[in-house]
Amino acid sequence: MAEAHPTHLLTARDAGMVACTDCTRVWPLETERCPRCGAKLVSRDGHSLSRVWAWWVVGLICYIPANLYPMLNTTFMGKTSGDTIVGGAVTLAMHGAIAVALVILIASVAIPMGKFVAVAYLALSVQRGWHTSKLRRTQLYEMVEFIGRWSMIDVFVVAVLSALVQLSVVVSIQPGPAALNFALSVVFTMLSARSFDSRLIWDSIERDGEEEDLT
């Protein structure tokens, strides 16, 4: 793998060009649409951070009720009880299924929380010009993009359980109101992360020493 000299690297913007993030071709700076793939070209997405924060906030707003209300309601012999995300994982762990309880806790609690923190950190680091490792931040970003979607697992668990466990009067499972909030929260945080223009992380090399507010 080519290991050049990172600080001497030229960026497309330095060279007076605009890069297509869809197909990696470069074009003269004023080009509006990529002639090769048709994607809209922006050297740096100026609205990136406001979109990141907008999705981030609605994602968080949905995530709170997703944890307070039951993900699923179990009716056993006429008696109904609800299970929240954490409650469901605790029940599983008490029945000895520790590994599965961990999967649920990681996918539905650790990943979403970690994602809120990571995206906020990335956006703030760019806005405030923090000097933390750019490579680490890029890797964090790629990890958020890669792992974030796996949070959807709990929604699928609820779908399968409530479709399958329908044994007339004995036992039946219904989806709880938290399922919709949770799914929305996953979608919004995915959109938040995808709105982030990771090139902004690397631009701060050039802006070192300058007091500049990107918003």
Binding site: M1, A2, A4, H5, P6, L9, L10, T11, A12, R13, D14, M17, A19, T21, D22, C23, T24, R25, V26, W27, P28, R36, C37, G38, A39, L92, H95, A97, V100, V103, K134, L135, T138, E142, E145, R149, M152, I153, D154, V155, F156, V157, V158, A159, V160, S162, L164, V165, L167, V170, V171, Q174, P175, A179, L180, A183, R194, S198, R199, W202
Partner: protein, 229 residues
């Protein structure tokens, strides 16, 4: 692999890292090699021998697996003499019973429609390239769309969800795994291979280099030669 650009490079010889905007002169790596951005480590180019043929074959497999799975029994349970079965489609519809029709539509899209659509788009884009023909109309938009759909294609996450659900039920009922379950499990493996073979840069390059209308087809193979530098 990739080198710093110099004055006099043609635009088409340049490539910019989509993650950090670093500019390189393309020196396409051989099959099985990778060109990686030296400052952010993003994989820029990773061609695979015979990738286009393999991706088309695997995308076709995905469509067949998914469509077949829709019509096969998925899961069934039995407890205290009572019995219930569900298909994949019914699992998606579960939320509509609880007044969450939107969520049902979303689930069905994420696990069925988007994976099928993405596979069909790839077939549409790559089949002419495989036959060394001109791309079909709209191929560029189709490929861009299929790449944007990638994170929203969640069949593999669904399979893990089914696994978790099964662990939850086995304590209270006897569960029978149907054919659709195994087709979906197979789908995960096929998708992983398909995405492993799919090198975005190589496909854009092939779409660009594909023969112009009227060009003699015999010229097509020769265009591959300059790719190795």
């Amino acid at each position: 692999m990739t080198h710093s650009p110099t004055i006099g490079d043609d635009l088409e010889d340049l490539i910019a890292c989509p993650t950090c905007d670093a500019l390189y002169r393309v020196d396409a790596p051989g099959n099985g090699e990778r060109a990686v951005c030296s400052r952010c480590h993003h994989v820029l180019i990773a061609p695979v021998e015979g990738a286009i043929l393999r991706v088309v074959a695997l995308a076709l497999t995905i469509v067949i697996l998914l469509v077949t799975a829709l019509f096969m029994p998925f899961l069934s349970i039995e407890a205290s003499g009572l019995h219930n079965a569900t298909s994949i489609f019914e699992a998606g519809l579960a939320f509509s019973r609880a007044h969450m029709v939107i969520l049902s539509l979303a689930v069905i899209s994420l696990i069925i429609f988007i994976p099928i659509l993405r596979a069909l788009l790839l077939i549409y884009v790559l089949t002419p390239l495989m036959l060394r023909r001109r791309p079909w109309p709209g191929a560029h938009t189709a490929f861009r769309l299929s790449e944007h759909l990638r994170p929203w294609s969640m069949a593999e996450i669904f399979v893990l969800g089914v696994g978790v659900a099964l662990v939850k039920i086995t304590a209270m009922a006897h569960v029978e795994l149907g054919m659709a379950f195994w087709l979906f499990a197979l789908l995960v493996v096929v998708t992983v291979f398909q995405d492993g073979y799919l090198c975005r840069w190589s496909i854009w390059h092939a779409l660009e280099e594909s023969p112009e209308p009227g060009a003699p087809p015999s010229l097509a193979p020769a265009e591959e030669a300059p790719a190795h530098g």
